[in-house]
């Protein structure tokens, strides 16, 4: 099953993407087209294939079959062209623990021509991050805020959030949702937000894609889903929970 949004110049265009890990199928003919200037929620149970799909969009996984284009570019062939326009934050959050907060900011800004020093400092202060603290000494919530800072401070055209609020307290989750809202406020920017927390997605998404067992189970505007199912949770139960899981990602 595939889903698409008709647009002339999509930010992300995934066509017929399939991926296997040994005998397990992680993605099965996934097609997805994301138009600019909207928030897309990617919803699915753990192991449904959300992270695998996002890794293909980032170019961290090579498409076995099908194609992935981001800003019209192949993220594997042109990592510089794609990654310099993306902000990425995930639950894995493997920021180098040995760096100090100010060192990480200084390091990150070298890679992005659009880095906004004022915005970065504003985020650091609002997140109450000590500039001299080492990343490894930060709490889980502080590390999440640090990850968010480096994902946002270059004002990316595309913000990818992979299970950003997993295991975090409500205050940090509020910060993350606030960041999504601020990004949307920057005209023309796009957010792809993966989560298994339906209430969060419902709060910010314009369009929801449900993924189950490596396949797109449903992809539609949130308003349309609510109209047909009442709530996102009911739609999830109807389209996703009934599907038997095929596989888990890496």
């Amino acid at each position: 099953m595939s889903a698409s949004v008709s647009v002339s110049d999509p930010v992300i265009s995934v066509i017929g993407l399939s991926r296997r890990f040994d005998a397990k199928t992680a993605l099965d003919s996934v097609s997805l087209v994301l138009a600019p200037g909207a928030v897309y929620g990617l919803v699915g149970a753990n192991g449904a294939g959300k992270t695998t799909l996002i890794k293909h969009i980032l170019g961290l996984l090579r498409a076995e079959s099908g194609s992935v284009r981001v800003f019209g570019l192949d993220p594997v062939a042109d990592p510089v062209g794609v990654l310099s326009r993306i902000g990425y934050f995930s639950e894995e959050n493997d920021l180098p623990g040995w760096m100090r907060v100010d060192e990480l900011i200084r390091y990150q800004r070298a890679f992005y021509a659009t880095w906004d020093d004022v915005y970065a400092e504003e985020l650091r202060r609002s997140f109450a991050l000590d500039a001299r603290a080492r990343v490894k000494t930060l709490s889980k919530g502080q590390k999440a805020r640090m990850g968010l800072l480096v994902a946002l401070a270059h004002r990316p055209e595309l913000l990818l959030l992979d299970e950003p609020s997993s295991g975090l307290d409500p205050i940090v989750r509020r910060d993350i949702l606030g960041a999504v809202i601020r990004t949307i406020a920057d005209e023309g920017r796009t957010v792809l937000f993966s989560s298994h927390l339906l209430d969060e997605v419902e709060e910010v998404a314009d369009h929801v894609t449900m993924i189950s067992a490596g396949r797109i189970a449903l992809s539609a505007p949130l308003a349309a889903i609510k109209e047909s199912h009442g709530t996102l949770a009911k739609a999830f139960v109807a389209h996703v929970r009934s599907a038997a899981p095929l596989s888990t990602g890496p």
Binding site: R62, P79, V80, D94, M99, D102
Partner: protein, 545 residues
């Protein structure tokens, strides 16, 4: 699983039993070979070293250091951190600290002790090599127990762990080697070594108990205050001029200081021996050679960490998403590593050259060096002496850099099977090269045959190198990892390097014994090509899996 002892043992066995089994099978194979095929000839000796001994010493050394890392949890811990590297996940087990410490120590000491005991027993029978039976095994067990205790200790300062561990183990080593040198009897050796294991256990117990209750000293504020007083407190840093500079800084902070630091730790022990060589020119020459070979040797040891795909996750072969997500090409990521290796090499050699010069002066051994240089000048004249010295130095510096970067294409590939295959291949080469070299040394006809075949051997090696380089170049072009322009300029630089090296060799080496084409072949072999060129390809394969 009925007890925690079995569970802890199962964890070690599940992941790390195969080298022990392989080693057992190998030793058994050697014993069968000795009994069935080997015709007794000259006896094999350890002192002076016999190349045939490499068949046992090489795999035994590898297995010993492997289990040293396994049982001290050094494979998965951050050696430079202040915190104990004892796995924190085990602290929450409903087990007494004595058991947490005791079982890994017991399993570890038994494993390495048995390994060494089996090897020395095999050396005595059926090979008939005169070797002490028990104390080497006890020494191995003691070495492991102290490694565990010192690795599990929380420290007040970062990087204190490797320094304290290396120093203490060096002292232990020196005491045992001195005792062996003076032919101390086996019972006395056992009496020296045996009490150390319980002492190491008590130290380890203290270390893990502190780590378990989160009692980690922090001496950094004292040093930071002292730094502020002398005006070396952290400065406000300026922005990086380019992404390449930022990535170089990242690599330098991760790996660049490791080699100079390691050399600084080892060098004092080697240089201290210069005072013993004040009246022994031959010993001084040997010591100088040892000191000058230290950087490339240590570089080969730390190359594995430099080429690790994910330094943040020692267990993982896949690339860290943080690095993979850099908006840099794979070639630029490799370029930062190569530049870091270059500066690390330069820093290391500056340390070595300054230290050696000072120690030669202070120890009064400088006149002996001058005497040897004067003799060389008499034979080959001053210009050639200078060029020869510079060439040897350049070769050592280049060898150090090469050691640091030549395994990048293996580690960065992120493929476990490649790393394991290369390890096995290197071990096999080391194991067999010892007896082969010994055989060549022992037989005049073999030496003559080798000398006559040298051009052919070099030509085959050059052909293999060029084939590998052509394959890598084709893959680089097809994958688009390097542009055509970069490939062409890289190839041109390599050719220029080969010609420069050939020019120096041709000027330095004269006479009818070595034909010019042999020098060309040597220059081609001496200039790094295929493995360095394969590094961006390996990184790209890992980055886009």
């Amino acid at each position: 699983m009925q007890s925690h002892a079995l569970a802890i043992g199962w964890e070690f066995r599940k992941r790390h039993a195969w080298p022990l089994i392989a080693m057992g099978v190998y030793l058994l194979g050697l014993a069968v070979f000795r009994l069935v095929f080997y015709v007794p000839g000259e006896p094999i000796t350890v002192v002076p070293p016999d190349g045939r001994a490499a068949t046992v010493i090489a795999p035994l050394s590898w297995a010993f250091f492997y289990y040293l890392a396994v049982f001290s949890f050094g494979l998965s811990g951050d050696l430079g951190a202040r915190q104990s590297i004892f796995p924190a996940r085990m602290f929450s087990l409903p087990v007494r600290t004595a058991a947490l410490v005791g079982w890994p120590m017991l399993y570890g000491t038994l494993t390495v002790g048995t390994l060494v005991l089996a090897t020395t027993a095999l050396a005595r029978w059926p090979w008939g090599i005169e070797a002490p039976l028990f104390w080497p095994a006890l020494f191995a067990a003691t070495f492991l127990a102290w490694t565990q205790a010192l690795m599990w200790m929380p420290y007040g300062l970062p990087v204190a762990r490797p320094i304290v561990t290396v120093l203490w183990l060096a002292v232990l080593d020196a005491v045992v080697l001195l005792a062996a040198h003076f032919k101390v009897s086996e019972p006395v050796m056992l009496a020296i070594l045996a009490p150390q294991i319980p002492i190491a256990y008590l130290v380890a117990l203290y270390a893990v108990a502190r780590a378990r209750r989160g009692d980690v000293l922090d001496w950094r504020p004292r040093f930071m205050r002292a730094a502020a007083v002398v005006g070396t407190a952290p400065l406000r840093r300026v922005a990086f001029a380019s992404p390449a500079r930022a990535q170089f800084w990242f690599e330098w902070r991760r790996h660049g200081r490791t080699l100079p630091a390691l050399v600084v730790m080892v060098l004092p022990f080697e240089l201290a021996l210069f005072w013993l060589a004040r009246d022994a020119p031959a010993l001084l020459l040997e010591l100088l050679i040892l000191v000058l070979l230290t950087p490339p040797l240590l570089a080969s040891v730390i190359a594995a960490t430099v080429s690790r795909a994910n330094p943040m996750a020692p267990d993982s072969h896949a690339m860290s998403p943080f690095v993979a997500m850099r908006p840099l090409s794979s070639a630029d990521l490799i370029a930062a590593k190569l530049r870091m290796a270059l500066w690390s090499t330069v820093a290391t050699w500056l340390v070595v050259l300054i230290a050696v010069t000072l120690v030669l002066q202070w120890s009064g051994t400088w006149p002996m060096v001058q005497q040897r240089v004067s003799r060389l000048v008499e034979i080959v004249e001053m210009p050639r002496t200078i060029v020869f010295t510079l060439l040897v130095l350049a070769a050592l510096v280049a060898a150090t850099w090469k050691q640091l970067v030549q395994s990048l294409c293996i580690g960065l590939s992120g493929r476990d099977w490649i790393a394991r295959s290369v390890l096995v291949a290197v071990l096999v080469i080391i194991i067999f090269s010892g007896p082969v070299v010994q055989w060549i040394v022992d037989h005049d006809s073999a030496r003559a045959m080798l000398w006559n075949s040298l051009p052919l051997i070099l030509a085959v090696l050059v052909a293999l190198k060029m084939l590998a380089a052509a394959w890598v170049a084709a893959r680089l072009t097809r994958s688009g990892v390097l542009s055509d322009g970069a490939l062409v300029s890289g190839a041109a630089t390599w050719v220029a390097g080969v010609f420069a090296l050939y020019g120096v060799l041709a000027w330095l080496v004269w006479g009818p014994l070595i034909p010019q084409y042999v020098l060309v072949l040597l220059a081609i072999l001496g200039m790094p090509l295929a493995r360095v060129a394969a590094a961006p390809l390996a990184l790209s394969l890992n980055r886009h899996r």
